[in-house]
Amino acid sequence: MITAGVDVGAKYAKIVLLENGKTVMTRVNSTVGFDLLKSANTVFKKALTKANLERDQITQVVATGMGRKTIHKKPPINTQEIIPEVIADAKGAYHLIPTVKTVIDVGAEEGRGVKVAEDGKVRDFVINERCAAGAGTFIETMARALEVGVKDMGPLALKSTNAIPMNAQCCVFAESEVVGLIHSKVSKQDIAKAIHDAMAGRIASMVLRVGVEKDVALIGGVARNPGFLPPLRKELNTEILVPEYPEYVGALGAALLAFEMEGKK
């Protein structure tokens, strides 16, 4: 039996096709545009092509992510169920790391902290309020201000050994701070580190609201940023595990739930 999990995020749509609730057949992602349904359909089609499958060979599709309601029950994907990101995150992370108790998901627009119960269900969660300063868009915006590629931001930050405080709680104000630092001739690598440190601070203080319990997993696209993990570890004073495909964990959770739902029929 093949099930699919579709995670329609703010920046990317991610799809996982899962065989018998265990083996990942395909992972595909693509940026989303203004038309979320069209974007999701495109990436879904890509996944089918890559796996050499037809839609009717997928038994059950579950969607998650901020765009889940937009695509729900609409052809050609025809999702049968939608679930919130926190449930998908917990499910996917628990499948990959059965000892996980705290999941930190940092995507493009949102940061989330999820406390996971012994059975993989959600115990509590917290989502960042009203500001991109705790999400991937923050790094993107700051990369533009520094005139470096977003992928270069993490490696650049790792070159710095200086700690420069950035206090702004708001993405826009933080950009002003960055511009101020540029004008003060602070090196790009020090500014890049300051940006990552600030973001790690925001995420850590948010996650601490629900409590941090080991094992801790970091998922979402920002988990691929090598400059983010060290300051987050330092802020939380704990080891943090990153799964191999961190941006797909939500989609995996949705695919796993699709499999479970099918099994209950």
Binding site: M66, I83, P84, E85, V86, I87, K115, A117, K121, V122, R123, D124, F125, I127, E129, R130
Partner: protein, 450 residues
């Protein structure tokens, strides 16, 4: 947080409140009475909803008040006027981080405009003849000090009297006599001050009547709230906001007592007949602090998930008076044994009655507030708590993060969200709704079909 199986699809009968229009008229008349008081030789005074409003009642039957917080909330409901108030206040040099109600009130003075309960804006903000205020929240004192200055800038002199009520909270034992007397003495002095600034005689019979009205009205409101323990809940919180407000406007007046007596009878009848506020009720929540007034539609969004908000410590305990029974249950406070007959009796009674106010507890003891919230959760059979981290009210938001931890520790699902009761710039409706629905979905709820 455990997923809750939400299999109940029962539909309850529902019907509008019969008393609804009467309440609307009462509120409209309240604002009009204040506006027109001087035309008929009457007096106007301004002060907070928690001020000892029964005391100025001794000056005569033609003395009308405007209580600042409900007025600030009324302004907040009408977003265009609110925006103008905030612009005026910020242009006058005040920061936007201050109490949102206070800024709305000051803005109204600065614009020299007055808004009625239905949103009608009229020219000439009516200046009070005096200010009669109490101090417990950090904004309360400054509120009227600045209001007085703003009136003076317009060439109007407004005398002000403030009563300091910061004597502690009787959590486990009654407050000591010297603390009670500290407030009584201020009220006693206040009566002399009122006589002096108004040039009127003071009538102790009217005082005793007003004190007794306040005691009855605040007990009645608690009794009405207690009826919401029924399943299905006969009232939802959005509706309750329009009902509790009478107690914040005129708790000392006979009209308030009469309104609550009638309302209580109607709600009792709804409970008897199983009439629901939300027909598809299947998940019960309570909230905390003032809501973002410009976005009350969020309650209607919650109903799409079968969620009814039963009320809050705020709606129940801002005006309603409660006590703990020895068995630990939280119940409406008993009426005092007898109506006061003298000024001395009246002042003692109203002070002893007032210091028990539930919404004063957290100023001293956050754990007292947590205890009351958990009592409401248990007795009202609430499934979760939604906490508004209200940036517009330092007073009622103080310690709220500690309350959250206490609720969480008790195993009750809790959802905090940030916003502002009176400044729409600080509330993200779409984002809050998205997170709220995530919370509901994580509890096993789904949007229900119409």
């Amino acid at each position: 947080m455990m997923l809750k199986k939400m299999t109940q699809t029962k539909e309850y009968p529902t019907e509008p409140l019969k008393i609804w229009n009467e309440g609307k008229q009462l509120r409209r008349r309240y604002y009009e009475d204040y506006l027109n008081a001087n035309e008929h030789g009457g007096l106007r005074w301004a002060g907070g909803a928690w001020s000892f409003s029964a005391i100025p009642a001794g000056l005569g039957d033609d003395v009308y008040c405007i209580t600042g917080e409900p007025h600030g909330a009324t302004i907040a409901f009408f977003k265009d006027f609110t925006a103008k108030c905030h612009e005026a206040v910020e242009a006058a040099g005040f920061p936007r981080t201050l109490c949102a109600y206070m800024r709305n009130y000051w803005g109204s003075i600065l614009l020299d405009k007055y808004i009625l309960a239905d949103g009608t804006v009229i020219d000439n903000h009516p200046t009070p003849d005096f200010i009669w205020q109490d101090h417990i929240c950090c904004s309360h004192g400054k509120w009227y000090q600045v209001a007085k200055w703003l009136e003076e800038k317009k060439g109007k002199r407004v005398p002000m009297y403030c009563v300091d009520v910061s004597v502690g909270y009787p959590m486990d034992k009654p407050l000591e006599d010297y603390k009670i007397n500290y407030i009584i003495n201020q009220l006693d002095d206040g009566i002399e001050w009122l006589k002096k600034v108004t040039g009127r005689e003071y009538n102790d019979v009217l005082l005793c009547e007003a004190v007794w009205n306040e005691v009855k009205a605040t007990k009645l409101w608690a009794e009405i709230c207690a009826l919401n323990q029924a399943v299905p809940a006969p009232l939802d919180e959005k509706t309750m906001y329009s009902l509790y407000v009478m107690g914040t406007l005129m708790k000392h007046r006979p009209e308030c007592v009469a309104f609550y007596e009638k309302l209580k009878a109607e709600v009792e009848d709804r409970v008897r007949r199983g009439i629901a506020a939300v027909g598809n009720e299947r998940f019960r929540v309570i909230t905390d602090t003032q809501p973002p007034w410009g976005f009350l539609k969020i309650f209607r969004e919650m109903e799409k998930y079968g969620v009814v908000s039963l009320g809050s410590l705020y709606t129940y305990g801002l005006i309603g008076m409660w006590k703990y029974r020895p068995d630990g249950s939280w119940i409406p406070k008993d009426l005092p044994p007898a109506k006061p007959k003298t000024r001395e009796e009246a002042l003692k009674l109203i002070v002893e009655w007032t210091v028990d106010r539930p919404e004063w507890a957290h100023f001293y003891l956050p754990e007292a507030k947590t205890k009351m919230i958990l009592s409401i959760v248990k007795q009202w059979k609430a499934d979760a708590v939604l906490l508004h981290y209200n940036r517009g009210c330092e007073g009622l938001s103080v310690h709220i993060a500690e309350n959250r931890l206490g609720i969480q520790k008790a195993g009750v699902p809790v959802f905090p969200f940030e916003g502002n009761m009176g400044d729409e710039r600080e509330f993200d409706f779409t984002g809050t709704l998205a997170r709220l629905t995530t919370f509901f979905e994580s509890m096993g709820l789904k949007k229900m079909k119409k």
